[in-house]
Symmetry: C4
Subunit: 194 residues, 4 copies
């Protein structure tokens, strides 16, 4: 299978995930500005999840730009990642409805951690199929990829005690990734597969 098909399908799924989450944002019942306050937590968690899906989309494509063809194993590793990401609207909605209670925030963190692990598995599977070794060189020692699971785990543990602290960890990981990976980006610019 050509990489472009896998990218197009993943694009579609990520575009839908990022957009349908807005359907979960609670519409205020009243019609005053103050009523918008009820939607605020919803809007903030929507923003956080929006950024996360955006990060995955970004990294996903940088990675696949260095690879020309994919096999069935890559395909299922990719669907595995999309599965965890497709649960983000669900875990976000539960966290919202509980007004950031402890258990739902832990579950949200577990969802993020599972997606990170799925992404790592996908990367390994792609590396194996990438004979030219472009991606391996491009990734270098992948510091962010190593720090993120640690921060997720700390966030999950913290959320047992204080959901707010847990979410602070999740926001930290997001910030870490928004800064584009110059190294991978410049490597891609030189060695893009097409």
């Amino acid at each position: 299978m050509r990489t472009s098909r896998l990218e197009a399908f993943s694009d579609g799924v990520l575009a839908i995930i990022i957009t349908i989450m807005v359907l979960e944002v609670k519409i205020p019942h009243g019609e005053e500005f103050s009523d918008l306050g009820d939607s605020f937590p919803s809007l903030l968690t929507y923003l956080l999840s929006f950024i996360y899906i955006g990060i995955y989309w970004n990294n996903h494509h940088h990675q696949f730009q260095l690879v020309k063809r994919v096999d069935g194993v890559v395909l299922w590793a990719n669907l595995h990642l999309l599965f965890w990401l497709s649960l983000v609207p669900f875990t976000t909605a539960w966290m919202d409805e509980s007004s950031l209670a402890s258990a739902p925030t832990v579950v949200y963190g577990v969802n993020l951690l599972a997606a990170a692990i799925a992404y790592y598995v996908l990367q390994q599977v792609v590396l194996r199929a990438d004979d030219a070794g472009h991606l391996e060189l491009a990734l270098g020692n992948d510091l962010k990829g190593k720090i993120s699971p640690v921060l997720y785990t700390l966030g999950i543990l913290a959320a047992f005690v204080s959901p707010a602290v847990g979410i602070a960890f999740f926001v930290a990981v997001a910030l870490l990734w928004i800064v584009p990976d110059r190294r991978l980006e410049s490597y891609v610019a030189e060695h893009a597969a097409d």
Copy 2:
């Protein structure tokens, strides 16, 4: 019509089906870990349906990689398949809401069987249009394609008595297909239409 258009549209529909199903997963009412238990059957059937749509997407593209152009008959055979797949969120939701009762599980199985038949019809129609005979050779004797309808039928019959046994059959078919078809895959790698 070029195959790429049909693939892009099918990609879109499958990406949406696979993603909107998560909107049907029931969000727990409470905010304890134990409340997540209410969503468990929902999550498991979501996973099963997610895998099914993933399998169809996978097979769909392997098949169309060997074909360059499609006519109106292929197009409608393809829409026929998409119609049955688009009902999967509906039959999954009914099965969930009934907590895996007998009738909804039977209907879910009938939906899977109808999609399998629609896929078979599509394959025959594509084979007819595929002058080069690439696909015919690639499919070989298509053992999985022949076993699946039998397993679906057994699952449907079993679900009349025990929904759990019925679902076990449907899981078995999914597992059968997750293992990628090396033969078709390697054939495609050599003879892809572009």
Copy 3:
């Protein structure tokens, strides 16, 4: 703007319309086979609207295959068509919820008629931009395009008295279009823009 962008966006919108309509199909409350009866009218109108969107997707692409570039006027004529088609889930849902009452069936017919007129306008705008005259030749005297609005109008008038007769007219138009337009198809096969 290249035609491919307009096609990709239209593909996306049509894929979403065709798929989200299933969210409107009522999930049965009970868990017996007989409870599925409640969903039957929903499922049939879903099927009808699914076929209509499929027909528009089919014709849309056949038409644009003969055109290389589009301007702002074509773009807005296309969005105008997509607007009417995007209302189909709304008018279908109202017709369903009213159990095929007279007024909602009339409104459904008006929606179909408006989409047909929007398609005609789009066709004229594209013809104007199509210097090579390929599309004009391909369309020939476009008998179906001329009969359809008449049948829609008869269906709308009939629905005032009997919704069932009205719907019979709408089904008739759908059947008319499912049969692929061999003439246009063969012309496209010879003169496709790429």
Copy 4:
């Protein structure tokens, strides 16, 4: 990253936004023509938001046709724009449910203004990356881009007193943009990046 990937993802998100808004249109409870009146404000605001998303899609692609490759900064500026646009279904729904009350109309205007600012930021970021200067020349003095924020601000202020007048301003901006930008369009026709 190639521009085509960014365009495909943005296409997907915009196609979904434009289509899921119809899910928010209230289906009439009764089954008489007069009951459709309840849906009228919903339908009109849907139309307005549909046109806005259409305008952004149109401008978005005209802009990116002149640019070949994009970096991480462009990517995040683009996601920033998509974030504000993805809130349009939410702010539209609140405005509807409040039957065009003052505060929700103001918030709708703020959403439109934020999207316009995000678009301006995106344009500046793209201009910076566009060495060839094609886009800068094509945009010229960008009169519409300068007038729109002023009209949005006036509309927001007016909506504090009269929501109807506020909406009149928002309709005016939409009309301003529906007229295609002949200058940019003809420039694009000559210098499109592919």
